[in-house]
């Protein structure tokens, strides 16, 4: 156990996100159960699993919002901390902005707290998403809110972007806009982690998939390899894992 619980090593690997034997329990029930997982930059990961499989909990631990019950969660080989929040951008499923905020207030807030935030880039993204700076966040439809969350998160020049359910409750056209925004910023020095129930939505944009089930890691695979070697799509594998009762 000493190599797991001991202090992280000194040689850091840029842009990596890693969990070692990590567990988070809520009221005695494990939301994430001994997950060991290593994610690297230059990839777009799809994190998959039904509700309650532990996706959000894992992401929140990586964002430093939830403290693990046991195990380690590392960013660039160092435990996730206040420092890592400067380089790890997290977007939650639910809207979280203060009710008094307008679209421009949201951007100014990010600008106040994140050194890697660019208001210019935010303006460009808002334009693409057809959002006005003067709009009040309380008056946005759920689709517009989803786009706003993406715009403000992607306007950061972070090393890691974790987007929890970016396509939830959004119509087809808005999904295209979001997909484009994601792909435009998926450069080789970035790590993107997306969770979604809409598996088909991510077939083409992700290159790796992480399957979680009841808080456990099922597998982490390369999608093109899976297609070439097994003739399976991500959706096929999803059905295999979660389709008929328990695995």
């Amino acid at each position: 156990m000493s190599d797991v619980t001991g202090k992280a090593e000194k040689n850091t690997v840029p842009g990596t996100l890693e969990s070692r034997d990590i567990t988070k329990t809520f009221g005695g029930k494990a939301a994430v159960d001994r997950v060991t997982l290593s994610l690297e930059k230059g990839h777009v990961y799809a994190m998959l699993g039904p509700n309650g499989s532990g996706k959000t909990t894992w992401m929140k631990m990586a964002a430093g919002l939830i403290k693990p019950t046991s195990g380690l969660i590392l960013f660039e080989s160092q435990p996730v901390s206040i420092e890592s929040r400067k380089k790890v951008a997290y977007m939650s499923t639910e809207p979280y902005f203060y009710s008094w905020m307008s679209v421009s207030d949201v951007g100014l807030y990010y600008q106040d707290f994140f050194e890697d935030f660019s208001y210019d880039r935010y303006t460009v993204l808002l334009k693409k998403m057809e959002l006005e700076e003067t709009m009040k966040t309380t008056s946005l439809s759920s689709g517009m809110m989803a786009k706003l969350k993406i715009a403000v998160t992607m306007a950061r020049d972070a090393a890691v972007y974790m987007l929890d359910e970016p396509f939830n409750g959004i119509d087809l056209l808005a999904r295209d806009e979001i997909r484009t925004a994601i792909l435009e910023y998926a450069t080789p020095d970035k790590l993107l982690l997306l969770s979604s129930h809409l598996v088909e939505e991510m077939e083409a944009i992700a290159d790796r998939a992480v399957f979680l089930h009841h808080g456990r890691l099922v597998e982490s695979v390369s999608l093109e390899e899976m297609r070439e070697e097994r003739g399976l799509s991500m959706a096929d594998r999803y059905r295999q894992i979660y389709g008929h009762g328990e695995e």
């Binding site: 919002l65 403290k67 206040i82 420092e83 902005f97 008094w100 807030y109």
Partner: protein, 253 residues
């Protein structure tokens, strides 16, 4: 990094801005009613204005404290919590901004109403000569009964600081109780009851400690209240560190 702290403070002030503006607006209206009554010799309006002003002063300070506890609760327990806890700021800083904002607000509102009260009493006395005589008569009488009791501004100011200090400490105890409830007892049975018991216990502890201080005596009114204010603030600082430590270690949002 002082930079981050000032940003946090800015947004804490922004969260309480609306209620402070409402308080200011109501105060302006009551003050106008009072002044109108004073200049046009309408006693009813004057008394109403004065009563509402006193109510706003006391109620305002109480409300600002309560509101800050509610804001802290929302910032730890709703989706809004991401706004604070996703930023690269430690819990010491996040909570520190809240404590500072609240302390400053209570103090400023207190000083504001104190100054306004002094102004209004001065206006009243200068405009109603007969009241002025009554006031002098009362203070003289008190002075004859006991040479040390003085109804003067210094004593009132000391009393105000003492009371404001106590209220601030009370708000901080509520902070700690809420932090314990959100970070340690979340989802457990009797969560509310336990954290309320903690709040009561802290209040009793502070009361007990302050009773060890020299008691009130006519010649030491200022010292008495200043000591209360200082111990309350020291106690608040201690509570702040404990709360922030608990948040840093255990809070999940």
């Amino acid at each position: 990094m002082k930079h981050g702290m000032s940003k946090l403070l800015k947004y804490e002030f922004r969260k309480t801005q609306a209620s402070k503006l409402i308080l200011l607006g109501l105060t302006a209206v009551a003050q106008l009613v009072f002044l109108g009554g004073l200049f046009f010799r309408r006693e009813n309006a004057m008394v109403t204005g004065a009563l509402v002003l006193s109510f706003l002063g006391v109620g305002g300070i109480l409300f600002i404290g309560l509101q800050s506890v509610l804001t802290l609760h929302r910032d730890m327990n709703t989706k809004q919590s991401y706004m604070l806890f996703m930023t690269p700021n430690s819990c010491y800083r996040i909570l520190g901004a809240k404590v500072l904002e609240n302390g400053l607000s209570i103090l400023l509102v207190g000083v504001f109403f104190f100054a306004l009260g002094l102004l209004d009493i001065t206006l009243l006395l200068s405009s109603y000569g007969e009241l002025s005589q009554l006031w002098t008569f009362l203070t003289d009488l008190l002075h004859q009964l006991n040479e040390d009791i003085q109804l003067n501004a210094q004593n009132f100011a000391a009393m105000m600081f003492g009371l404001i200090g106590s209220w601030f400490a009370t708000v901080m105890m509520a902070y700690l109780a809420d932090v314990v409830s959100s970070a340690l007892l979340g989802g457990r049975k009797y969560n509310g009851l336990l954290s309320f018991a903690l709040f009561l216990a802290l209040s009793i502890l502070l009361g007990f400690l302050q009773n060890l201080l020299p008691g009130m005596s006519p010649e030491r009114i200022i010292l008495y209240f200043m000591l209360r204010a200082i111990t309350s603030i020291a106690f608040s600082v201690l509570i702040y560190f404990i709360s922030a430590k608990i948040m840093e270690r255990y809070l999940s949002v």
